[in-house]
């Protein structure tokens, strides 16, 4: 273990001091361009694949939940005695900066120092984040280290096996491999997760539909559907003031409009091929089944498909939504068969009690985060990611 930099234990700070320092970190990133610098922002754009305006939005959203009040609450949740000097290995995945920000705030709020292994897409941001903490002064800098050695190497394998606590993200395969390698040591996080939207007919009156369509489109456009809270499917009740097909058309129109404030990533060849194949399969199926795809031909993204009678298929991301009509109560096992046990968030338009009936009927679809459309990509500082409030759980495990 001597070849691996370990984070130092937190100094004896009061709750107020920890909260103050975390808030100061958030404040430094209020203007991401200033904190990262022009060159830094360009690197972030290149590494994440998000165009500059999108990176800017992603960074703002990453820090937005951590208000003074929410940080205080977080720090209170993380209080408690500590046995020894436990530290957390965070194995991040994906390209959304919020994942790194959350890991840092959640662990330090629990007084647990952190070693972060970032994926390539988040290497530059993680380095900048750790640098910000170090530059800020106030003694928290040494409590977070950024691991820069490649995955699959000996030091990383040893860390995975020996870290007292671990927070891991990635595919189901990766998460399983990490859990198995740790042989019973606590491992938080999870594998593949997806989110969906449910629109009950009460929310389909014409007055509010434009707002609803915009909110769903925004949740989908932010991060190009690359997050576990990105909606992939929209369950829409038949018989309301607006038909599922009309709502789909409006969502598509809104998605087109979002290309300006939230420019989409340019997918590499293989992903572009997947998008094209998915789009053409949807179009073919729509023609055969009386469904509809917006747009009917041409560019594969953004795309909204209404395919009556067809269950949700794992989508290719990049602003591709599947609208699934239902009558009476939605049957998630029929509509979203592949999502059972993999749901992270649900946005609901209409009575929440009806959503609760859905969860009771099939707990496999219960989500740790339930919100209104437009809020999926704005989770609070404290929420049950993969069903667990990480700070609280870290505090418990560190006792």
């Amino acid at each position: 273990m001597s070849d691996v930099p370990r984070p130092e234990p937190l100094p004896p700070l009061s709750e107020e001091e920890i909260a103050g320092r975390l808030f100061a970190l958030r404040e430094r990133w209020r203007n991401p361009g200033k904190e990262a610098g022009q060159k830094g922002m360009a690197t972030l754009s290149r590494q994440t694949g998000f165009p500059p305006a999108h990176v800017h939005e992603a960074l703002k959203r990453a820090f937005a939940p951590f208000t003074q009040r929410s940080i205080r609450r977080l720090v209170r949740l993380g209080r408690g005695p500590r046995a020894g000097s436990p530290w957390l290995l965070a194995i991040l995945a994906g390209r959304i900066p919020a994942v790194a920000v959350n890991a840092l705030f959640w662990s330090l709020a629990a007084r647990v120092p952190l070693a972060v292994k970032s994926p390539g897409a988040l290497d530059a941001f993680t380095a900048l984040l750790v640098r910000s903490l170090a530059r800020m002064g106030g003694s928290l800098g040494p409590c977070v280290t950024h691991l820069t050695f490649p995955s699959g190497t000996g030091p990383m394998a040893r860390l995975v096996e020996s870290a007292p606590l671990c927070l891991a993200y990635g595919s189901d395969h990766t998460f399983r491999a990490v859990t198995e390698a740790r042989r019973g040591r606590p491992t938080l996080g999870g594998g593949h997760r997806e989110s969906f939207v449910v629109v009950f007919r009460e929310a389909l009156e014409r007055d509010g539909v434009s707002h609803l369509a915009r909110a769903i489109a925004r949740d989908s456009a932010v991060y190009d559907q690359d997050g576990c809270l990105s909606p992939q499917a929209v369950l829409v009740e038949e018989g309301g003031g607006t038909s599922p097909r009309e709502l789909a058309r409006r969502i598509h129109d809104e998605l087109v409009g979002m290309a300006r404030p939230l420019p989409p990533s340019i997918p590499p060849l293989e992903e572009a091929a997947r998008l094209r194949i998915f789009a053409e399969e949807c179009r073919y199926t729509a023609r055969a089944s009386g469904g509809r795809v917006f747009p009917e031909r041409g560019a594969p993204i953004p795309l909204v498909a209404v395919l009556p009678g067809q269950p949700y298929r794992t989508g290719p991301g990049h602003r591709v939504l599947q609208v699934l009509p239902f009558c009476d109560e939605p049957d998630p096992a029929r509509l979203l068969p592949s999502m059972s046990g993999h749901v992270q968030g649900v946005a609901v338009a209409g009575p929440r009690a009806r959503l609760e009936s859905l969860f009771e009927a099939d707990p496999g679809y219960r989500a740790g985060y339930v919100c209104a459309p437009g809020r999926l990509q704005r989770p609070p500082a404290v929420w049950a990611e993969n069903g667990i409030i990480i700070t609280k759980e870290l505090a418990r495990l560190a006792r």
Binding site: P267, E280, Y284, A288
Partner: protein, 345 residues
């Protein structure tokens, strides 16, 4: 139903297309697309809306009732719970297409008279388009000199080597047909047996077809060339790669004796392959990669244009370096053949 007159025109085109006539091909292709309801705006092939390969798994892609299908070809992989089905309305059209293509790209001089297939015949694999093609080829061109070196799921080395020795003795060139995986299995068997390497008569050749990656065993074409040179002294110029898909009734060939220049798969004259930029859906320049979209006149009863889940490199009128788009169902004739292939010495 597709107008029989149109089908006859296609039959004639296949029979007469010694040299590709692009204008006539495009006209026929558009006529078929119009009949299939897949012709949009534009004046060339780009106006045809291709049917995605995955559609063959989702529903019946056919312009005739299922009950009138003369054969049903099945793909090996499945993600939707049902394999891809290609309902074949007109086996005679498939036969004409397969035989004319084979003759054009495999039977260059000196014309071989002896045929050995490592691929099982159609009665053993009724759902395999490749097995049907091989059976047709053997019946049409090999006559008495046809050997199926296969026993169930196993390669049969004894009849294979007997046919090889007969070819050597008679000094008649031989054609060996197999999947890439069959050849890999054959090389392994020859390596472990005491069989001496043989110099097959000049003009002997091999047709192999790819798609072996899904089996977990793979062999590069360079290794195939090396193996055939080592065990049978067949030079790489006489090793012809065939490209076919269950969803198509025509093929492409990499036959350097017929199509010189950089090695590439070139479609038969009644099929075109466009390599498309997946975002713009326009054809990429030669030397660039994109999605393969095949336009096959023999598919007049199903889908004249098929958008595949294959990425490939465009080389002039042909293509090369094919690989599946990640996340797509593995496919390939070797994948089909890989189910339990072993060597029976």
């Amino acid at each position: 139903m597709i107008d029989p007159t149109l089908v006859n025109r296609i039959r004639e085109f296949i029979g007469s297309a010694r040299d590709p006539d692009d204008g006539a091909f495009v006209t026929l292709c558009r006529a078929v697309a119009r009949a299939q309801g897949r012709l949009g705006a534009g004046s060339g092939l780009e106006a045809i809306e291709p049917v995605p390969e995955g559609a063959f798994k989702l529903s019946d892609v056919a312009h005739f009732p299922r009950s009138r299908a003369q054969a049903t070809f099945r793909t090996s992989g499945t993600t939707t719970g049902r394999p891809g089905l290609h309902l074949v309305r007109d086996m005679d059209l498939y036969r004409r297409s397969a035989l004319a293509g084979f003759e054009r790209y495999l039977l260059y001089p000196p014309r071989p008279g002896r045929f050995v297939s490592l691929i099982p015949p159609a009665p053993q694999r009724p759902g395999s388009s490749l097995s049907h093609m091989v059976s047709m080829v053997m019946e049409a061109f090999a006559g008495e000199q046809a050997t199926f070196a296969r026993k169930g799921n196993a390669l049969a080395l004894t009849p294979l080597m007997a046919a090889v020795r007969e070819a050597v003795d008679s000094r008649e060139p031989l054609v060996l047909l197999g999947t890439s995986l069959d050849l890999l299995t054959l090389f392994e068997a020859l390596e472990h047996s005491n069989t001496a390497n043989v110099a097959l008569p000049r003009g002997s050749r091999v047709m192999h077809t790819g798609g072996d990656k899904a089996s977990g065993r793979a062999i590069t074409r360079e290794k195939i060339w090396q193996g055939l040179d080592r065990y049978f002294q067949i030079p790489p110029e006489d090793v012809v790669e065939e490209f076919g898909m269950t969803e198509l009734l025509s093929q492409a060939y990499d036959a350097p004796r017929v199509v010189p220049g950089q090695r590439r798969l070139v479609p038969v004259p009644w099929m075109r392959t466009r390599v498309l930029d997946p975002t713009t859906f326009t054809e990429v320049d030669s030397g660039s990669r994109g999605l393969l979209c095949h336009y096959d006149l023999a598919n007049c009863h199903t889908a004249v244009a098929v958008l595949t889940s294959d990425l490939g490199l465009r080389i002039n009128e042909g293509f090369s370096h094919i690989h599946r788009v990640p996340g797509s169902t593995p496919r390939g004739c070797s994948h089909e053949a890989a189910r339990g292939v072993r060597t029976h010495v």
